[in-house]
């Protein structure tokens, strides 16, 4: 193990390590702690210049209450949910199938198609922006959740296919051959042999895509414009102009907007990290 395990080091370093750990963490999260502190302060603290000190009174319920009951925030959160969930389902479904095709079968152009999926996934968004916006407008889907979902599914399919294909490659191939010898149809092999083995990959991809899509800002700005369809990342700017310079409310709003993926991460940590670090170990 590297670095040397703590148990084998000097007593003084062991103690300093235990002290350093929380200090480092506080420094690392300082900007966030400051904002969390903002969000529970009363407005008067900002008038009196008590910006980063201890709140003079605890106003969390008041501030967060305003976010939920006196702004469009709930609508934006709702939109985000209805953009994110269908995208997760769509992208995972498409890439499961594509990953199965690329991972199990040998055919001409297999590697070529696989590499196109990977390359497309790295492309800058801006080269897609004008045509995709145009296409969305011409399908009458501009400023709708559907328009955003369709694009997200298509784009995420690149990354998801890379992920799924590599996962399926690592499965024991004799299992599939055995099923073939039994005369089982190929689509049944997918459904009953491969799919059940892919559960960890499905979970990992689902949490990752959830986070990516929830946090998307660029496409939200390009393809939507009002509280009818805009997700929370884009809505937060409107929220902030509604409460201009009211830091206690703006920070509460930001924390609310950031919370769902954070909750997702802490609930599904194992899958999340497994997905993110796929390929980091050979």
């Amino acid at each position: 193990m590297f670095p040397t395990p703590l148990a084998k080091t000097s007593r003084s370093w062991q103690i300093s390590y235990q002290v350093l750990l929380p200090i480092m963490l506080i420094i690392w999260l300082l900007p966030l702690i400051a904002v969390a502190n903002f969000s529970i302060k009363p407005e008067s603290d900002f008038v009196n210049g008590n910006y980063w000190g201890i709140p003079s009174s605890f106003e969390a319920f008041n501030n967060y209450g305003k976010v939920f009951f006196e702004s469009n925030m709930p609508r934006y959160l709702w939109n985000s949910l209805f953009i994110t969930i269908p995208t997760v389902i769509g992208a995972v479904a498409l890439s499961c199938m594509a990953g199965f095709a690329l991972g199990v079968y040998k055919f001409k152009g297999n590697l070529m198609i696989f590499f196109i999926f990977i390359a497309g996934n790295f492309v800058p968004f801006q080269i897609l922006m004008v045509p995709v916006r145009d296409l969305t407008v011409s399908m009458n889907l501009y400023d709708t959740k559907t328009g955003l979902v369709l694009f997200h599914i298509a784009f995420q399919t690149g990354f998801c296919t890379l992920f799924m294909r590599n996962f399926i490659r690592a499965l024991p191939f004799p299992l599939i051959e055995a099923a073939r010898v039994e005369g089982i149809a190929e689509w049944k092999i997918f459904l009953y042999v491969v799919l059940p083995l892919m559960k960890p990959a499905l979970a990992a991809l689902a949490v990752l895509i959830f986070t990516f899509i929830w946090n998307d800002y660029f496409w939200a700005v390009v393809l939507t414009q009002g509280p009818d369809a805009q997700p929370v990342t884009a809505g937060i700017t409107e929220f902030n102009s509604q409460f201009r310079a009211a830091y206690h409310l703006m920070s509460a709003g930001s924390i609310v907007a950031a919370l769902p993926p954070v909750a997702m991460f802490f609930l599904m940590q194992k899958h999340f990290i497994a997905g993110l670090t796929l390929g980091a170990v050979k």
């Binding site: 904002v35 199990v104 800058p124 149809a185 991460f265 980091a280």
Partner: protein, 308 residues
């Protein structure tokens, strides 16, 4: 009835050849319509003058000439500012890799509660860039921000990072480094987990210690993690848009623009819909990215061939 049987027979005979294409079809259609074809269309649009609504007017390479300053024109000033800022992003963003490595080495211990610390160090990555941008712009506020309060303790004067054209880009990059470092950290933590303990012990017996051990024994084993960290950091640096849009909106005086932001501004902002010109910027950005993409794909291709 008979023909259905024939069909079925034909399908059965060719099942192994046809099935992969049936499984690929939906993903390929989606990907072609929304990703592959639009790339070509952007090239086409970049050769036109177009407001996004009316007729396109063919202008040949005029957009590129204006952008890059071919012939007797000067290079587009906004373009050169954006381009240099992109370079700053690329170079400085790479700091996330050594920083992530350092934090992962610090956290790679087995003490009580270390899992909690690891996830807390990682979680800036989960927050949306929009919120990271807001958090940092409040952190940087000249009067209310915590940064200046901390600087004040050390006697350093207040700085208005996002209001100063010579500092603003660095301020935004620092904000971007925060989640990116967390990402690299988690990659290295996973990599360190898989380091062969026997090799480490053997090297220790040979007297290897500290940075020598790190450089000659540990880092070579972390190569796959480093490769991924490199890929995601480069892509992240060239994709920078959210933070700039939220923190400075390109200002002050356009000093924080990068190509992705400049493109958006030209095509879809209050200054008008210059889609053709915007598309030309996107094409330039695409070619910068393509250099990296080719390198990434080549590395992956080599691995793929090596695996068989």
């Amino acid at each position: 009835m008979a023909s259905a049987d024939v069909n079925k027979g034909w399908y059965k005979r060719n099942e192994i050849a046809i099935t992969p294409w049936l499984f690929l079809l939906p993903a390929m259609i989606f990907f072609a319509v929304y990703v592959i074809i639009p790339i070509g269309q952007s090239f086409w649009i970049s050769l036109h003058q177009w407001d996004g609504l009316g007729e396109k007017t063919w202008v040949g390479t005029a957009n590129y000439e204006r952008l890059l300053g071919w012939g007797d024109q000067n290079i587009d000033r906004k373009f050169s500012v954006s381009f240099w800022n992109n370079l700053k992003w690329l170079v400085l963003y790479l700091l996330a890799i050594p920083a992530g490595l350092m934090i992962s080495l610090f956290l790679n211990q087995t003490v009580t509660g270390i899992r909690f610390y690891k996830s807390m160090f990682f979680f800036p990555f989960v927050i949306s860039q929009v919120v990271v941008g807001l958090v940092f712009s409040w952190f940087y506020l000249p009067r209310e921000g915590l940064l200046n309060a901390v600087l004040g303790v050390f006697g350093a004067g207040p700085v208005n990072i996002l209001g100063d054209p010579s500092l603003a880009t660095y301020g935004i990059i620092a904000a971007g480094l925060w989640p990116q470092t967390a990402y690299c950290m988690i990659l290295y933590l996973t990599g360190l987990n898989a380091v062969d303990p026997e090799q480490v012990e053997a090297a220790r017996l040979d007297g290897a210690k500290g940075h020598k051990m790190l450089w000659y024994v540990i880092l070579p084993q972390l190569k796959p993690a480093t490769f991924i960290a490199f890929v995601v950091t480069i892509i992240g640096a060239l994709r920078s848009f959210d933070l700039i849009s939220v923190m400075t909106n390109g200002g002050p005086f356009g000093s924080t623009r990068v190509l992705s932001f400049y493109m958006f501004e030209e095509s879809l902002s209050e200054f008008g819909f210059r889609m053709g010109f915007g598309a030309a910027i996107a094409v330039v950005l695409f070619f910068i990215m393509l250099g990296f993409i080719t390198y990434f794909l080549y590395s992956m291709y080599r691995d793929e061939k090596g695996a068989h």
